[in-house]
Subunit: 213 residues, 4 copies
């Protein structure tokens, strides 16, 4: 049949359900204000399932999940993909091991992005929770979370991310005034990274208010 | 029948249900302390449905919603409308496109109103979330959220709001020591504006505590 | 029948249910940490229903509510009343119009009590929410919330409260390092006062962190 | 029967249920970010039930609870016990009266541990809530909560804890950049201690931001 969709619809259905449940939990934490943020899962080696732009993330339904190819074009629907889709698909295209990308806008992430935009990164060191990042097995590890300048020019932003990825292992980055991207092997892995960044950024802001850091 | 109500009771019933569900969610966030705050929806081109003054916003029932005309007078009931009803109806009268007005008292809104009352506005710039305001399509937009002096003289307050509305597009304003008014085409639009203001004011306060802004 | 209890058991049952529902909500807000806090309702002109000391306020059951007379002695049970029972019953004895006393330990209340213990009061002014206090009808009212030194000597503390009550209308007081007492005509009235104090103290602390107040 | 487990499986089942319910509540408070934290209950005089390392603490199931002996070795399963198991079992071995050990990673605990690591302890004084610690019956008591340097060398950490325990009564300790250990006779007792530490550390941090303490 010529009209057959080029991806596994059963798998899409599973992933959509998983996205809905997890994004509702993130929304209840206040990390997706005012219909912001977007979330995706790798569907196969050419497609990803991603939230449709502008939907209330606390009330996602299956119709709010669309399929895109790795150039960020809608597949099997006429939904307009979010401008930021490219920041998701560049990760899926480059790393076959990445299965989930989460982009949130918590207040802590936004404030930290503004505060450290000048430095270009947030230096995280001395926290046991650094062990939460896949591959880190000791709390002695330190980590610089990059902060990129905000722009509506997605190909330019994606190129900057690619340059950072060339340098070595990364689990996420901030965009100035905008929020956080975090990713992982699957939803659980990506959420662990997301939660760890949120927690560590929150600690850094508090320590700074207290006159340390 | 001479006693027929001059509005569509079926539509009122729908809007009351929508107000109840949404206000309970806002109340659970702590934005309506001590029975404060009020909420309305346009019913038609002469009437609005609005919460009765002094009710616990976390436990609203249908009997806590009344109808007013655009002069702020009760229609079809003998409930006493809130003194602030006029601040809702002036928006419905002036802009046929406004369908929902939300007035909340979160701590962030109250603190920001006190802090920026002298300046007369809160300047918001450099946030991706500025795109949440209808008509804004780039994060480069900046926005001044007005802060009006508090008073119990509602006609005077309404006149100040009218003067601000003459100057151009507005999505909300603060009243000193009091809280925020935000509005939109419908409930979803107004809530997106309300959430965006709450988020951005929270970021501004945090940045100020951290020695920026 | 000589063994008849000297109060209306049906009324006790109603009040116990009301206390349980309301205290669980306050506990969910984190205002009753580590089994602290206590809560009471007037039963009649000689008795009050009050929470038994040391129970987890998030998991109250009917067996966690006891009856005391206005000298703070257990009636109809051998539960040991909390040492602070006297601070509840002194209000019921003195003011027939008081029907509910709420004592909580939120972090904001505890921090404010430490911060303003030297001054002996927290001055609250310029907030619309001051209208939440029964009898206040304008936001122009100002209010001094007293802060008493902490002590385990309850008769001495009660005497200080009595001296304050002699001076005029009061809706609550703080005890240094300890928490807040608030009261009202009934549960709804007392909760409105409690929520208003919590909100206003929170605003004062935030404004102080921001360099104002 | 040679294969019989050396502990009471019915008791294990009860304790596992209790751990699951309580840890989900702690997780909902945000005290177990990114699969961190671990929790245990004494099973008998040679065994403890403890959470398996790396599980999402907000979604614990019975399969996420394992049995260890007091040397921290798995019993009756091939789960790998957390490296920190030894910090639990050293308490059970030394004090027959300890029935529950809770280790959490709240932001307040982590920030306080960083802030007071240099001093080696957090001094807590002037709080009514100090009465929450078993054996304390007056708010006049003061308490120094130890802060230990973080390390992955558990026997060394355990030896430092033992040295502190030699000095007198203790209800918990912090590890720098890591979190809090608190314990008690049973789950309710340990949770009361945990909540009291969280509350008091939160007050200390707030007072410090406000220019006191």
């Amino acid at each position: 049949m010529t009209d057959a969709l080029p991806y596994d619809t059963h798998r899409l259905c599973e992933l959509a359900g998983e996205i809905i449940v997890n994004v509702r939990e993130l929304s209840a934490l206040g990390w997706t204000p005012a219909t912001s943020s977007n979330f995706s899962r790798r569907l196969d080696d050419r497609h990803a399932a991603i939230t449709v732009s502008g939907r209330d993330k606390g009330k996602l339904r299956e119709a709010d999940i669309m399929v895109v190819d790795f150039d960020g074009r809608a597949v099997g629907s006429d939904h307009r993909p979010s401008a930021e889709t490219l920041l998701h698909t560049q990760l899926y295209r480059r790393f076959p091991g990445i299965g989930c990308v989460l982009h949130t806008h918590s207040q802590v992430q936004t404030v930290a992005s503004r505060l450290y935009a000048g430095a270009g990164h947030v230096h995280l060191e001395g926290y046991e929770l650094l062990k939460a990042f896949s591959g880190n097995t000791t709390h002695e590890t330190e980590l610089d979370l990059p902060v990129l300048p905000n722009t509506q020019d997605m190909p330019s932003l994606a190129a900057q991310v690619d340059a950072l990825l060339d340098r070595g292992d990364m689990w996420g980055y901030l965009i100035d005034g905008h929020g956080l991207y975090a990713w992982g092997r699957d939803m659980a892995d990506a959420r662990r990274h997301l939660e760890a960044f949120e927690f560590l950024l929150g600690c850094e802001l508090e320590l700074r208010k207290l006159g340390c850091a």
